[in-house]
Symmetry: C2
Subunit: 188 residues, 2 copies
């Protein structure tokens, strides 16, 4: 079971949301479940994903935390670990893929550590190995979030940019950050 | 209609995913739809949300782009605008809330520009105004993404951190970034 979903239901959910039942989403689901199972019943929690790849979608599929509602934060660290913690107290759990434990699971190890090229991997067998043994690949540690991580960030007053006319947080300065620093696109 | 959903279906989807049918998700849906309607039929597109609040969830609910599958990027600019563009050519559309157009919609304007306190807002009336007039609040511009924005980012080879034992992108250096720069939590 993944939260309230059977394995098959979760795979369907992952296909519908993420586009396919990626190995990273499946393994991510084991991380999320390992951390969540240790939180007290009814705990209102926030999530931090330490990778931007796949794992944020496992969080969004299995918990009330989404990127847009602010309960999920994503750090672009390339580390396959997730922290779930009580919003108020900061007490929680961090679940990470343990490279040491992967030694018993060669397909997952080769994929996870990028030891074989994608074209030489057997995706179905890899997914099967993860679904059967994912829980054995995870290391879980209790954590205490630092108080500054629990503070809510506020946007503050809103201004209208005198250059482009968009609304933006006044604390950013005399113009919006796009007019100040440039855009990744041309406006045609 | 929001994509394939009726207004009521979309509100239910937003409640299930985001936690509630937030005004920001509803307004975000109009932005997403305004940009997407202008893309050619069958276009495979990426998305950039210029706000981290609410809008990323409208994208994730209405398009194949999610944070975890990498098709949605989020910039923390506090600007309520979304860019959808052809993955290959970078041609696309940017839809933004236009403060000028909001002058005709006082509830939305007061909420959006934070002119009244949350406790003094009538949430139901606000949502109704957005649902009825959201499409009239949006400014759409054609965009051409810069080539460097279209390049895929690669994680490169993976190393195991000699300090903590987690796997991380070798390009980050001799240890993972958490061991190099510190964590926002104590490992207990």
């Amino acid at each position: 079971m993944f939260g309230k979903y059977t394995e098959q239901e979760f795979q369907q959910k992952a296909e519908a949301f993420h586009g396919h039942a990626a190995p990273g989403v499946l393994l991510g689901a084991f991380l999320v479940e390992a951390a969540r199972a240790r939180l007290p019943e009814g705990c209102i929690f926030d999530a931090v994903s330490e990778s931007r790849q796949c794992l944020p979608d496992a969080v969004q599929l299995l918990t009330p935390c989404t990127f847009g509602n602010g309960w999920l934060k994503v750090m672009d660290l390339g580390i396959y670990a997730v922290c779930l913690y009580d919003k108020q107290t900061g007490e929680g759990w961090r679940a990470a893929v343990d490279p040491e434990k992967l030694k018993r699971f060669p397909l997952t190890r080769e994929w996870f550590l990028k030891l074989t090229k994608k074209k030489d991997q057997d995706g179905d067998a890899l997914r099967r190995e993860i679904l059967e043994h994912g829980a054995e690949m995870v290391a879980v540690r209790k954590i205490q979030m630092h108080p500054e991580e629990l503070a809510r960030r506020h946007k503050g007053p809103i201004a209208v940019c005198p250059v482009c006319g968009d609304a933006y947080p006044a604390k950013h300065g005399g113009t919006c950050l796009l007019c100040a620093k440039g855009r990744g696109y041309d406006l045609l």
